[in-house]
């Protein structure tokens, strides 16, 4: 519990404390109350970063969860050849570090010795560059989907395993087809697991940092210092030395994340009741 306090409670308290002050070269540290918060809420760079992860959340999370759901249902249907092989293989990318995943995809995206470059040479076409500023967010979305689709699939699959098979037998005797069984039995059984997966994905999207930070070496023009809120907080602290303002941005983002996760949880539970 002492470690817990040191790692969780103390940093939160400390960052709240920091966020209330301003350090200047002349005049030292002064108490400024809520000034930093006012600044953050009116900061176009912060909102641009926030908008980017919000867009990412709205597009990437549903695609990833839908794919995970399809694979989980396919494996659970018992109609696949080699189901356990599929299960473990789709899950494997989860064991790959985000750094390696981003490097690997980054190389593959690259035009020099990546697959895109190969395809361009081979077909004599020029495909759009996935590392350009227009497509970089979609490219990152692809990396994140690749990393976590298997993990989410496994959560959903585990939830499907506990459904009593006699329910399926009863449904079949009543003349229900496979799609009807999926709709009427399996999807309701998955509600809890889907909720958990959604909440984790929301939290993950809002903290997006590793992939953009690593791809920045390969695509320095497409990724700004305020690409995601976390990256912005990081840049403020470690490039700009604005520790007080950085702590404020981190707190604002943390609060927004918790509120959204909480709202999703409440809505999910009410539907379940």
């Amino acid at each position: 519990m002492a470690v817990f306090a040191l790692v969780f409670l103390a940093p939160i308290a400390y960052s709240v404390y920091l966020s209330l002050f301003r350090t200047q070269l002349i005049g030292g540290t002064t108490f400024v109350g809520a000034d930093n918060y006012v600044k953050a809420l009116g900061d176009p760079q912060f909102w641009s970063a926030f908008g980017r992860v919000a867009l990412f959340l709205v597009v990437q999370v549903p695609i990833m969860l839908f794919l995970a759901l399809l694979v989980a249902l396919a494996i659970d249907s018992g109609r696949l050849y080699g189901a356990s092989f599929f299960r473990i293989s789709v899950f494997l990318p989860y064991a790959v570090p985000a750094v390696v995943a981003a490097l690997m995809w980054g190389f593959m995206y690259g035009t020099r010795f990546g697959l895109i470059g190969n395809l361009n040479d081979l077909l004599g076409v020029s495909l759009p560059d996935p590392l350009s500023s227009d497509l970089i967010l979609a490219s990152i979305g692809n990396i994140v989907t690749w990393e976590f689709v298997g993990y989410n699939m496994l959560i959903l699959y585990s939830a499907l395993r506990v459904v009593n098979p006699s329910l399926y037998e009863a449904a079949e005797m009543d003349g229900a087809g496979q799609l009807r069984i999926v709709w009427a039995i399996k999807l309701p059984a998955l509600r809890g697991a889907l909720l958990i997966a959604t909440i984790f994905s929301i939290i993950g999207s809002f903290q997006l940092f590793n992939e953009p930070a690593i791809l920045r070496d390969l695509a320095p023009n497409a990724i700004t210092t305020y690409f995601t809120p976390n990256y912005y907080a990081y840049s403020l602290s470690f490039r700009g030395q604005q520790f007080n303002y950085s702590a404020t941005v981190a707190i604002v983002m943390g609060v927004i994340t918790m509120v959204i996760a909480y709202v999703v949880q409440l809505r999910g539970m009410r539907k379940g009741a």
Binding site: Y81, L103, Q207, I251, T257
Partner: protein, 318 residues
Amino acid sequence: MTATTSSATATAREPRAPRRGARGRAAAGPLVIRRRPRRNRRSVTLTVLTTVMLVYTLLPLAWLVINATKTQEGLFRSFGLWFDGDFALFDNIAGTFTYGGGIFTRWLLNTLLYVVVGAGGATLLATIAGYGLAKFDFPGKKAVFAVVIGAVAVPGTALAVPTFLMFSNMSLTNTPWAIIIPSLISPFGLYLMWTFASDAVPDEILESARVDGAREFQTFFRISLPLLAPGIVTVLLFTVVATWNNYFLPLIMLKDPDWYPLTLGLNSWNAQATTAGGEVIFNLVITGSLLTIVPLIAAFLLLQRYWQSGLAAGSVKG
């Protein structure tokens, strides 16, 4: 949760056997129930569709393996998904371990240190705390539950910057402690252990052990620990992955490359290509990446049986 150890599986299956027999006899009667008549029919279409997904997940890994066999020049001149004429895998592995005075070995050892102490410690704490929360009543238990659930929701990276500032005041940054201490806490592991312990260890067994005069520690080690094993393996695997793959925390905490873990080291090699005067060593970056993921993938494959049942228990409760 039963099907965990081989003996448990056997006992769990036994009660089902007579039912199957009963069904066989019933087949002779008027009410004919075929056992899962349609669910066992294999579908080629579905297999093909799922294979598309499989290609998506495995293709990048295949790319990594193939390109780890190429020299720096080979990377540029050959097709990405096929081998180059020169097979340089072993040269690349040797190069990875010797480049920069064998710094890769140092990073590997650092990673092992962070994983063993950090993830091991996190698992130990999560097991003890999760077991305690699941099996003992004490005042304020609901409050603790709320805090743990809240902690799962707090973005880890939002804490990292303040933690850095705090640690730098305590002059802990740039030491291994800066990585190990934050790794010790795993709210998700605690949550998983808690739900797992509530299910896996029946209260009745604990009661009877207490009646027989066993002390709490004895009960824990003799009775509860073996029952908790699949949960412990699951939490251990997930904390190991989290620590092994950690990038953000070491990035802000460590300045000295001698303390880098593999992830940070690999990225610094990659960044050499864009810094002026840096040597381009993409072949070593790729081989190093492959070497970084092999131990984890091996661990996941070998311990499949344990973590799949452990994860199932956690998600069912959630």
